[in-house]
């Protein structure tokens, strides 16, 4: 575990046992404080993870720079598309965007600037990339954040229930439902929701807006409601797909814990069934789930591309898709970097949080 930058999704890899029988401390009273040592160890561990994340971020930066150079299409031609421009103008634009430099020089410049948060200027929007991202980020965060909270709570809760009553009718319905939603293409679900709940079909009235984040005609609290109204369908779509994944993971990791001896111990102590579940089984089963949740949140941000496209949500996903077709290299690169960083960030967060939840790891 310690040598890996991403937490393994597998239970086996996550449940690290101390293999040596000789514990760190002999039975007698010991002089040194185990707590301070473990804190130091934790800090070392966390620092290692952060360093690993930094390396990963750099790797992503490199990739995002080079991968998208492969996309066919000369950005300058795209920018000038159809207009009459002189060769000098084109040369000037190439200079402006640094496209006349050798690739490696472009790269070093890019890296240097990226460090200061400067990802260049968007070809199509003529604005600093970072501004465009900053404009779109809140919308994406709002959407994915809301969905994240809902599907996490829902998935964990239902997953825990489902596993606890493994094989019961409730479990079967739960799992069947989750598996079905898990197999449904999210964009399709979104379209169906639009057809039924937004356009309205037959007797169903169109309750929700067809897209966008707000109607633009409201202010204050009305605006909040307006945005909430617009959020309902996209959030449902995201939740439907992601809660299923969470549920399935939670269920299977709890099932893994179900036969464990420590649960028998807890029961033997006279704990009520729900206490056994809440205090013992779920915290242990949460460990692999938490890892997955964080990793998922990272990918959910990227996965929002589809939902944002279907629901015209003014977020990063739509921006990415727009940028790709130009190709608006600086924007594409930066967005790719943002998406991958989101995953890395979440991974690292999971790694760093994990030892706080599971004392066996990292100390």
């Amino acid at each position: 575990m310690s040598s890996e930058s991403t937490p393994a999704l597998l239970k086996g890899a996550a449940g690290v046992e101390s293999t040596e029988s000789g514990g760190p401390a002999p039975a007698g009273p010991s002089a040194r404080s185990p707590r301070s040592r473990s804190t130091a160890a934790y800090l070392r561990y966390a620092a290692g993870k952060l360093a690993g994340a930094a390396v990963s971020l750099f790797a992503v930066l490199v990739t995002s720079f080079f991968l998208f150079r492969l996309i066919p299409g000369d950005p300058v031609k795209q920018m000038t598309g159809g207009r009459q421009v002189s060769t000098e103008q084109i040369a000037a634009m190439r200079r402006e965007f640094g496209l006349d430099l050798p690739l490696w020089q472009q790269f070093t410049q890019y890296c240097g600037k990226a460090l200061t948060g400067d990802f260049g200027t968007s070809y199509q929007f003529r604005a600093p990339v970072i501004d465009k991202i900053a404009e779109a980020l809140p919308a994406t965060l709002l959407l994915t954040g809301t969905a994240f909270v809902i599907y996490t709570l829902l998935g964990i809760w239902l997953g825990a229930r489902s596993a606890w009553r493994n094989g019961s009718a409730g479990d079967r319905t739960n799992t069947a439902f989750a598996l079905t939603l898990y197999s449904v293409p999210s964009f399709w679900l979104g379209l169906l929701l639009i057809i039924t709940l937004s356009v309205g079909i037959g007797p169903i009235p169109g309750l929700f807006p067809t897209g966008g984040m707000e109607s633009g005609s409201t202010t204050g609290f009305d605006r909040v409601l307006d945005i909430a109204h617009h959020m309902v369908l996209p959030v449902i779509t995201l939740v439907a797909v992601e809660y299923a994944r969470t549920l399935l993971v939670m269920r299977s990791s709890l099932l893994d814990e179900m036969g464990s001896d420590y649960l028998t111990t807890a029961r033997a102590k006279g704990l009520r069934d729900d206490l056994v579940r809440r205090k013992h089984a779920v915290p242990n089963a949460m460990l692999p789930t938490v890892t997955l949740l964080f990793v998922n949140l990272g990918t959910t941000v990227a996965g929002a591309i589809l939902v944002e496209t279907v629901f015209s949500w003014p977020g990063l996903g739509g921006l990415f898709y727009q940028a790709l077709s130009v190709p608006d290299l600086p924007l594409v690169q930066a967005l790719f970097f943002v998406f991958a960083s989101a995953v890395i960030l979440m991974n690292t967060l999971a790694d760093v949080i994990y030892p706080l939840l599971d004392p066996r790891v990292g100390r």
């Binding site: 310690s2 040596e20 029988s21 000789g22 514990g23 002999p26 039975a27 007698g28 160890a41 070392r44």
Partner: protein
């Protein structure tokens, strides 16, 4: 006693000043798992290596098989030092075989008994009749008729049967020596005896030597010719079974024997956990737990200071009774 006088023959396998260390994880000190061991195993001899958990028994056994390269010292087999080059090592591994503690784990759950036994033959490109060789090995290991077992999977066998299959897999290559790491520790008491009897019989019939690693002194009494008691990477006492187990000289051996359930006298329960191979104390490595030192008896014998400071020499690998203890050396005769 059926064994020939052993001391005269040259050793088949011997460790000479063998040391194995493991680098400490995350800045911890290196673990001196085996810290200077001389041990000879003569043809036809069964040597029991006993000691507490974590004292380096398995590591010693594995390094004898060339599975862990020693950090210092060497292993010689039939007079020649072990060659760690691929081909030579492979040839060596035809002659020396390993039997592990956990028979369930030692068998690939997806291989049939036949495959498991024939594996060695296939690795070494056996020229003869594979089937006949497998049959014979299985019957020797007490699985008769062998055909009945050919196509069973490990999970269809009982623990004892599995261990027999493992032994058959070792026998099929007609080795000269078997290293058995806790061969019966995970087996039921009722089955244990049968497996041990099998080892004894193989020695008698095939002249096989064996190094049996165990923490169970009763096992040594059951089958071994000679016992080596290991403590924290060193052999602290060695000698013929009868002598060593009935009249132990090293306080550690005495303590081990005293805690056996049916032992007479007050058990000497050593306090604390087995010490850490990454922190070997100076002087006699046992002195921190030594009951003789603690009771002041060593003081009376005038060796207390030596116990704490003077490192003891490595015992040679020979068959005679030897003990690495200042106190035992001081009052050797009377013990």
């Amino acid at each position: 006693m059926t064994t020939a006088p052993l001391a005269t023959t040259t050793p088949l396998l011997s460790a000479e000043a063998l040391k194995v260390t493991f680098p400490g994880r995350r800045g911890a000190a290196t673990a001196r798992a085996v810290d200077g061991v001389d041990l000879d195993i003569r043809p036809g001899e069964i040597v029991a290596l006993v000691g507490e958990s974590g004292c380096g028994k398995t590591t010693l056994a594995r390094s004898l098989l060339g599975l862990v390269p020693p950090t210092a010292g060497r292993v010689t087999f039939a007079g020649a030092p072990l060659d760690y080059a691929g081909r030579a090592l492979k040839a060596y591994r035809k002659r020396v075989q390993l039997v592990l503690q956990d028979p369930s784990g030692s068998l690939n759950p997806r291989h049939t008994v036949y495959d498991a036994v024939a594996e060695g033959l296939r690795i070494h490109g056996h020229a003869g009749d594979e089937r006949a060789a497998v049959s014979e090995a299985l019957s020797r290991a007490g699985l008769r008729p062998p055909e009945r077992f050919f196509l069973r999977y490990p999970h269809e066998l009982s623990g004892g049967q599995r261990q027999r299959v493992v032994i058959a897999g070792a026998l099929v290559l007609e080795p000269e020596l078997i290293v058995a790491d806790e061969p019966v520790a995970s087996l039921d008491a009722s089955v244990r005896g049968e497996i041990l009897a099998l080892l004894l019989r193989l020695r008698d019939e095939l002249g096989l030597s064996a190094l049996v690693v165990t923490h169970d002194l009763g096992l040594a009494w059951n089958i071994a010719d000679r016992v080596a008691v290991m403590y924290l990477g060193r052999i602290v006492e060695t000698g013929p079974v009868e002598q060593l187990l009935t009249a132990p000289q090293h306080p550690y051996t005495q303590a081990l024997l005293s805690v056996l359930p049916e032992a007479e006298g007050e058990p000497v329960v050593l306090t604390g956990e087995p010490p850490d191979p990454s922190k070997v104390p100076s002087g006699c490595r046992f002195h921190v737990r030594c009951q003789v030192l603690a009771s002041g008896e060593a003081e009376r014998a005038g060796v207390a200071e030596a116990c704490r400071t003077v490192d003891l020499p490595v015992l040679n690998g020979g068959a005679e009774t030897q003990v690495a203890c200042h106190w035992a050396a001081a009052c050797g005769g009377e013990a």
